[in-house]
């Protein structure tokens, strides 16, 4: 049937087909590498920040106008975030009045970007030689950017940090956990262990599968229309965001909990029934503890998903400018992904590296959550 040349052609086609598969995998892996290298490369400069040594004169004029504390030549180089702390400092230490001291001040983001040789740094030409000279004289040095982890958002790029957003994320996730996990687990228990096999139960099951595939932005519309407009939850609050994300995470938790419950073998249930346990006792004392690792893994994956979610939170207003960590779940808050979004739309060059650094923080947290889930699954997996 097949001549030798035909056979050769078929073998070549066979090899080519395998090669397509390898190419597809290689493409994905290359992209992944390129992506991480690019993001990390953009983020690393943000962890260093320039500081300038300036002579600070503590005088009476400083109390009304903090700009007067330093010589004019430095005013455009130093961050306002440093200058505006001076009046308080003088109040706390009145003995400083009338003295002049060299102090290390946070540098303006333009100076910082100029010295990092980033395009679009925005430092005016007349300051450049001065900055370079100061840098040669070691009057400007780069230090670890601790502000990035200890401050909230700021309009001054050099002073902006992720703390408020991280705290907001923690609050939102706490609400999500407290609402979604109990309801999700109870729903799964009902569907797996108690529900009669009728049309209504099937409707719930179909409904949950549909919910899992609904675009997240529609949950934002639900949050806006129901939680904020009808129930009166404050806009931008962690409560509004947490409830919205809880509804979004619910299907994920239900589906993974059902899988975990289903993987507990029937013989365990039969044995418990045989000893006279009731339906509820079988579930609570035997099935649930055995399914716990699976439930935990599913919940962590659901929460990791919720943590990276942005779109529904934008709709419920969680992209506000938040310089301080929120003190209550009813206060305006922002979350890490939303902070990344707001920074990415800032035009200042210094915000680009901060955006990348925020992304890096987000990715590290998310990847460790996922790794934790994988570890827990491996560690507690029981083969029946």
């Amino acid at each position: 049937m097949s001549s030798p040349s035909n056979l050769k052609r078929r073998y070549r086609a066979d090899k080519r087909f395998k090669l397509y598969g390898i190419a597809a995998i290689a493409f994905s892996l290359c992209f992944l590498t390129f992506f991480f290298v690019d993001i990390i490369g953009k983020a690393i400069p943000a962890f260093e920040q320039a500081y300038i040594q300036v002579p600070v004169t503590y005088n009476e004029a400083l109390k009304s106008n903090y700009n007067k504390a330093i010589p004019k030549a430095y005013r455009r180089l130093v961050s306002k975030a440093f200058l505006r702390t001076l009046p308080q400092k003088l109040e706390a230490h009145p003995e400083l009045l009338g003295t002049t001291q060299p102090e290390w001040a946070l540098a303006n983001h333009r100076v910082d970007q100029f010295l990092k040789q980033h395009e679009g740094h925005g430092l005016k030409k007349k300051y450049r030689s001065k900055v370079e000279q100061l840098y040669q004289e070691d009057k400007i040095e780069f230090r670890f950017n601790a502000n990035f982890f200890s401050r909230g958002d700021s309009k001054m790029a050099e002073n902006a940090g992720v703390l408020a957003a991280v705290m907001g994320s923690v609050l939102v996730l706490l609400i999500t956990i407290l609402v979604a996990v109990p309801i999700g687990v109870m729903t799964a228990i009902y569907l797996e262990e108690f529900a009669p096999d009728n049309k209504f139960t099937q409707a719930i099951e179909v409904n949950i599968n549909n919910l899992a595939a609904i675009p997240s932005i529609l949950y934002g519309l639900l949050g806006l229309a129901i939680f904020i407009n009808v129930m009166g939850v404050p806009r931008s609050s962690a409560l509004a965001g947490g409830l919205t994300l809880a509804l979004m995470t619910l299907p994920v938790i239900i589906i993974s909990t059902r899988a975990a419950l289903r993987s507990v073998p029937q013989s365990i249930r039969d044995a418990a029934y045989g000893l006279g346990a009731s339906n509820l006792q079988v579930v609570m004392h035997h099935v649930l503890p055995l399914a716990f690792p699976g439930i935990l893994t599913g919940s962590i994956i659901g929460l990791a998903q919720a943590m990276g979610e942005t779109a529904p939170l934008l709709i419920v207003g969680m992209m506000a400018y938040i310089p301080e960590a929120p003190s209550s779940i009813l206060n305006a808050a922002t979350v890490l992904p939303a902070q990344v979004y707001t920074w990415s739309s800032e035009s200042m060059r210094a915000f680009e590296e901060r955006t990348a650094a925020g992304i890096l923080v987000l990715l590290v947290v998310l990847l460790s959550l996922n790794a934790l889930a994988v570890y827990l699954r491996k560690r507690f997996e029981v083969r029946w």
Binding site: K18, A203, L211, A213, L218, L250
Partner: protein
């Protein structure tokens, strides 16, 4: 004056501490009865839980009713809330405490309550769906009383800028706002098509390689690695598409002598496609592996090459599952928000050129709802109309994928 948060905190702490007291009291009563009169019908813990349920069911029920009336603006008295709900809880609890005797079937009573609790939890998912449908439907309906449905669906010009002026009562005889959504849907479909052109071949071939060629160990390493792509937050992809990929596309286009916008459709489309690769590859991998080995063995025994077996036997057998995965991926791409918000344009543009900026349904929803516009203007209501269409499209795709799987999957016994 107590804020809502204070009321909530007080209510929760009151009901929690009273529940503990009720539990401890009923449990100890039960233990005492057991010591005096012999073995109880149910274990003492069930007596405790019974007391808790007697307290909490009426209290929480009435508090729930109160909050509905409160939201409707009918009543506003915290004193009333506490008196009525806790009063009813106490009365019901004291009536229940009479039941505490040796033969009381506390376990059955508790199980009945907990089964109902589980059922209520299951209802929440139904309410979520209803909530999404009604919140979108209601506002969209208001929009369609302003803008006719037909104009919305077939109009080719989206120009709502003057709508919020009219909404604010400042109609200064400017241009009439136009809400023709065709260019927006065209943009959505263009980006979706670009994404699928990337995701389908790469995802499918990756799935074929993982399930048919790779060793068990390699597959166990590759699959989670690929799934990292699906775990990266979309806002990160959006930043990456806007900052890194868009300029690359512009430079590449220049190299071919073409003009490309910085907010071109290609960059978000490509990145979205990469995000979707793991959906296609994981789901297809599962269905390909579900094809029984004897089918492959039979085909190979007839003298076909490995690739021919895959193309002619394995893939046709797995086809319904692959189609279902494809439909889910399309619905995912259409509903994706952050990538297009950050990397695609804002200007509705009816074009077939992927190097131009286009806008999508989700971009317009975000744009309309994150500004400072009046909530009642046609501009913000339009977001809900777009949301309604988005909801319908995704539901149709989901149901379509379910039907494909149910109707066409071969059963090999």
């Amino acid at each position: 004056m107590m804020t809502t948060a204070d009321v909530f905190t007080w209510f929760i702490s009151a009901i929690a501490s009273l529940s503990i007291i009720a539990f401890v009291y009923a449990r100890f009563t039960a233990i005492k009865i057991e010591q005096q009169e012999g073995r109880l019908h149910s274990r003492p813990n069930f007596f405790g839980w019974y007391a808790v349920s007697r307290l909490c069911v009426p209290t929480l029920g009435l508090a729930f009713l109160y909050s509905i009336f409160h939201m409707a603006g009918l009543i506003n008295s915290n004193l009333l809330l506490f008196c009525v709900s806790f009063g009813a809880g106490f009365i019901y609890l004291f009536l229940g405490l009479k039941h505490l005797h040796k033969d009381f079937r506390a376990r059955q009573a508790v199980e009945k309550v907990s089964r109902r609790l589980f059922f209520l939890a299951a209802l929440i998912s139904i309410f979520t769906t209803l909530g999404i449908v009604f919140s979108v439907l209601f506002e969209a309906f208001r929009f369609f009383t302003i803008v006719p449905l037909w104009d919305f669906l077939t109009g080719t010009s989206w120009n709502p800028d003057t709508a919020f002026l009219i909404g604010a009562g400042r109609d200064e005889g400017g241009a009439v706002p136009e809400f023709g959504s065709l260019p927006i849907f065209a943009g959505t479909f263009m980006i979706t098509i670009i994404a699928m052109l990337v995701a389908v071949p790469v995802g499918l071939f990756a799935a074929i390689y993982m399930s048919e060629y790779a060793s068990h160990r390699v597959r166990n390493m590759l699959k989670p690695t690929l799934e990292i792509l699906a775990g990266i937050p979309t806002v990160v992809y959006g930043f990456f598409a806007a900052i890194t990929i868009s300029p690359l596309v512009v430079h590449a286009a220049e190299a071919f002598g073409l003009q490309a916008d910085f907010t071109n459709a290609l960059a978000p489309g490509l990145i979205m496609g990469i995000m979707i690769i793991p959906f296609i590859s994981s789901l297809s991998d599962d269905v390909i592996r579900a094809v029984p080995q004897p089918l492959r063995d039979g085909s190979l025994a007839l003298g076909t090459t490995h690739a021919e077996t895959i193309k002619n036997v394995v893939l046709p057998a797995a086809f319904p599952g692959i189609v279902a995965a494809f439909l889910l991926a399309v619905s995912r791409a259409i509903g994706e928000t952050m990538i297009v918000v950050m990397a695609a344009g804002l200007r509705p543009n009816l074009t077939a050129n992927p190097l131009e900026g286009v806008t999508t349904v989700t971009v317009k929803i975000v744009e309309a709802l994150t500004g400072d516009q009046e909530f009642d203007s046609a501009f913000t209501l339009a977001a809900f109309a777009l949301g309604l269409v988005l909801l319908i499209i995704t539901l149709v795709l989901n149901i379509g994928s379910t039907i494909v799987v149910r109707k066409f999957t071969q059963r090999y016994e």
